[in-house]
Amino acid sequence: MDWSKKRTPLQAPDKKGVPEGLWVRCNNCREALFRKQVVENMNCCPKCQYHFRLTAKERIEMLLDDGVFEEYDADLTPADPLNFTDLKPYASRLKAAYASTGLREAFITSRGTMGGIPVVLGVMEYNFIGGSMGSVVGEKVTRAIEMSLTEKIPLILISCSGGARMMEGALSLMQMAKISAALARLHAEAIPYISVLTDPTTGGVTASFAMLGDLNIAEPKALIGFAGPRVIEQTIRKKLPDGFQRSEFLLEHGMLDALVPRPQMREYLIRSLRWFRPTESKV
């Protein structure tokens, strides 16, 4: 209907979360939607199932029992070890990110239960410098893994990231090794780790913890890859095929264990956690 379209607030093209207002427009099918219906459908379009981007906090509240959690390592704060400046100083990018997200970094470590089973749940925050991984994200992910390891609690990490953070140079790169080494210990102790890849997960995050789960699952239509599509296009000087590097493409190529639409995510994770739960030993 015409009148509804006029009243739909237009959102900035780079914002993929559910915008404010009574009505929202789907980024995919362009349908005008009643905001409440979108929120009730776990921030997915009720018409086409387009997944609006979630903040880390929304994600945690959606997944854990009653949305209740304890946060860990919230005080870890990025430094600016290279005194990095591009078009803007890194320090001012960080300040802007603190202000817009209320977070100190692009990752929240939480602990709670899912279906009554204790879990360590770490979630990336895309709105914090593109969810990029610098020293603090690397440290928080590693500590989350170590908490799983010490307490023998399953780990779930939800990725949403452009990759390693360039403004911390090779320090960011080495977080990939640090995290993967911690995951090797978790692996050796047979403590379950489920990796959930969401739109987008690329670069150093995909090439480290996001691909190292006992289960690697993704939301539908998420962009997932090592190199970004623009870099690949420039390298091969060809246009990329439709659907390239989307979850469905990865599933088809054997790189994902399952596609799980968001409305089924909690149920899927609980079912998996139950499967992983150690069988009761008979005394």
Binding site: A74, D75, L76, T77, P78, A79, P81, L82, T85, D86, L87, L94, K95, Y98, S135, G138, E139, T142, A164, R165, M166, E168, G169, A170, L171, L173, M174, Q175, M176, A177, K178, S180, A181, A182, L183, A184, R185, H187, A188, G203, G204, T206, A207, S208, A210, M211, L212, I224, G225, F226, A227, V231, I232, T235, I236, L240, P241, F244, H253, M255
Partner: protein
Amino acid sequence: MAFEGLDFEEALVALRKEIAAARSSPDSDPDHLQRLVDQHDALARELFSRLTAWQVTQVARHANRPYTLDYISMLFEDFSEIHGDRSFGDDPALVCGTALFRGQPVVVIGHQKGRDMKQRIYRNFGQPKPEGYRKALRVMKMAEKFARPIICLIDTPGAYPGIDAEERGQAEAIARNLREMSAMRVPIVVVVTGEGGSGGALAIGVGDRVMILQNAIYSVISPEGCAAILWKDARMAETAAEKLGLTASKLLALGLVDAVLPEPPGGAHADPQAAAETVGASIAKSLSELQRLTPAKLLDQRYEKFRRMGVFTLAAES
């Protein structure tokens, strides 16, 4: 003949030609030769002491720089190449094999670039695909099984960013190597000999000792890539190189490498044999230290080394 080399080394290359001519001439004056050598070395030291990060990047990528197969022929005996990942294919951009290092059986793994255009294309400019990383991992697993040390030589612009590489799981291949290398029960010695291009370098870089040649680089992204993304202008690569902190001395200061290996005056390409001797001596020293450790101790030290990497603070109001 057109000058082949970097702008700032033109005078050095001219001197090296004079030295070579003097050496090959039967009636050359030894004092004159020595003067030329001294002149070259003094000038080289002077020039190389004040290279910018961008100039270092160019030296790291120098077309005459020794590559993995050069180091293998200068430092190892009985090298037998091992091809293929036993799943999809072989990858000429990542060379693996068994060899003897100073009499000791080891495996050696390294990125390989090409010298001429045909070779460069064959080696995919030193950019491995997933099968390369999977081949490297299976060779490392064999080394672990037979308790042989692993030597890795890093020299790549990065893992190949192409459709086929993505289809076959470039990210998964790199990730798996990181995890598996961190738990490998034999010593791993890594030398960054040229370009340490991001995840594609690190995928064979999780070692007990990670050393870097003086004019090699190690970076989260190429200066060109960084400039294109952050400055929206690839021509800002020179500035990006400066900011990224990709030089050997900076990496050492940040605690990301264990040692910087000095290069001969004028860079590794000015005297590949001398560069190889330094690399060989450092590998030998590292191995003798690491082989004294039990596997458990080795793994603990490796874990702690990477565990410490990162710079951050605790919350203060900003």
